[in-house]
């Protein structure tokens, strides 16, 4: 029964995917609902804070919609990157089977998180449109698909890179969430849009690719969304660069990741 490497990898990623589903959602009753509650909790808390301060909209976009369409992509990135970083350690025992290579649990987690992302995006918009009466029509669907395809590539690159260096240097696993992810929550355009920041500071903030991703999500979703000097090209280059770097790092280190 000689199988091609692709067939083997497909079988392994599928098996790991099912395993991830079971461990992520199997533990709790209504486990799938929890996946939705997290972005909703962020939206609700932030909406409460902003309305307490008297804000109801950003460039004409209702607060809740503005928050939801930024938080969901941002959380996808952050959660997936963290999940990828821990993917090797939490599947250690399964490398006992030589079919399982370190990239496989990383791929399985990215696929799972992407499905959760897509589903929670749709459900949140459905709730906003159907029950809360917001106008949830999308201004530029193709643009929205494009920026999220780039977000997927970016997340893959960063996630794979973190899985390699997080496994080889455990310090990375401690420091990245604290020093990178936490501050990024505040400066990635999900709490407030770039347009409310004075222009002279834009060139500092715009080094952050996630700010571009979130702003462009808003730009394509809403007609007439005000933004700064954001660039699809910057996101594309950053995504390609990180994917290249991630693949190179993996290629050079995967044996060290599994050998003892």
């Amino acid at each position: 029964m000689a199988r091609s490497p692709f067939e083997i990898q497909k079988a392994v990623v599928f098996a790991l995917f099912v395993r991830e589903l079971k461990t992520r959602f199997g533990k709790y009753r209504m486990g799938y609902v929890w996946a939705l509650l997290e972005p909703m909790a962020h939206v609700i808390v932030l909406a409460l804070i902003w309305s307490a301060m008297g804000r109801t909209e950003f460039s004409g976009i209702p607060l809740a919609l503005f928050l939801a369409t930024g938080i969901v992509p941002y959380l996808f990135f952050q959660k997936t990157a963290t999940q990828c970083m821990n993917a090797i350690e939490s599947n250690r025992g399964l490398f006992n089977y030589r079919q399982v290579r370190p990239v496989d649990p990383v791929l399985a987690r990215i696929i799972l998180e992407s499905i959760v992302y897509f589903a929670s995006y749709l459900v949140l918009l459905f709730i906003a449109g159907w029950f809360l009466g917001y106008d949830v029509r999308i201004h530029d669907l193709l643009g929205l698909i494009m920026i999220n395809a780039l977000l997927f590539l970016l997340t893959f690159g960063i996630g794979l890179t973190l899985s390699v260096y997080g496994t080889l240097y455990p310090e990375v696993m401690k420091l990245v969430p604290m020093l990178v992810f936490r501050p990024m929550y505040f400066i990635s355009g999900i709490l407030f849009p770039l347009s409310v920041v004075p222009t002279e500071y834009h060139h500092w903030l715009l080094w952050n690719p996630l700010l571009h991703v979130v702003e462009l999500n808003h730009v394509y979703y809403f007609r007439g969304f005000e933004t700064g000097n954001v660039s699809l090209l910057f996101v594309a280059l950053f995504a390609l660069g990180s994917a290249t770097f991630g693949l190179l790092s993996y290629r050079g280190n995967w044996v060290r990741m599994v050998s003892t």
Partner: protein, 221 residues
Amino acid sequence: MIRMENVTKFYASPKGRKYVLRDVSLEFPSMCNIGILGRNGMGKSTLLRLLGGIDYPNRGHIHIDGSISWPMGLQGGVQGSLSGRDNARFVCRIFGDNEQEVERKIDFILEFSELGDYFDMPVKTYSNGMRARLSFATSMAFDFDIYLMDEITAVGDQRFKEKSRAALQEKKDKAKIIKVSHNMQELIRDCDVGIYLEDGNMHIFDDIEAAVAAYRKGQAA
């Protein structure tokens, strides 16, 4: 057939490299049951991991013809938070079985392992003996040319030991085993050829008894 070509394997330690294998080139005798002996820390389990393709030599190559099992042992290979059934399913799936085959093997594994209701409980609640039964039963659901065993038959109660010996005996007509154990009687009974690991070298003895004698001499020294 297993052939090692200039295989070197070492671990980095604060006191320099600790060699498990140092430039070893040899061919394993084919169609024999092989017992691996050596003192603690001489790299018996590492050798099994190298043969099983889940660890890699620092230099050199290992060529293997035929199918080879994963190293069956107490550690690794299971996900504690999942049930025995889900763990067994995982193994069947990565070997490319379709869902029908998976369920057929699951029935076999449930029957063979005698885990009963525990089969649907998380593996972390299992005793060592139950883990060994699950691991052993899972590997028996597949037909490998070579089975790698890391002291696995040493656990489980007497009855299960008898049963697994019978199952292996049945397989042994087609398949061979490579086994690590500290139990000399067991090695002498189950194996034909012995490999003695000592300070980075592998000595092959055509007779397991001679390997055991070498091991005993090493112990005494």
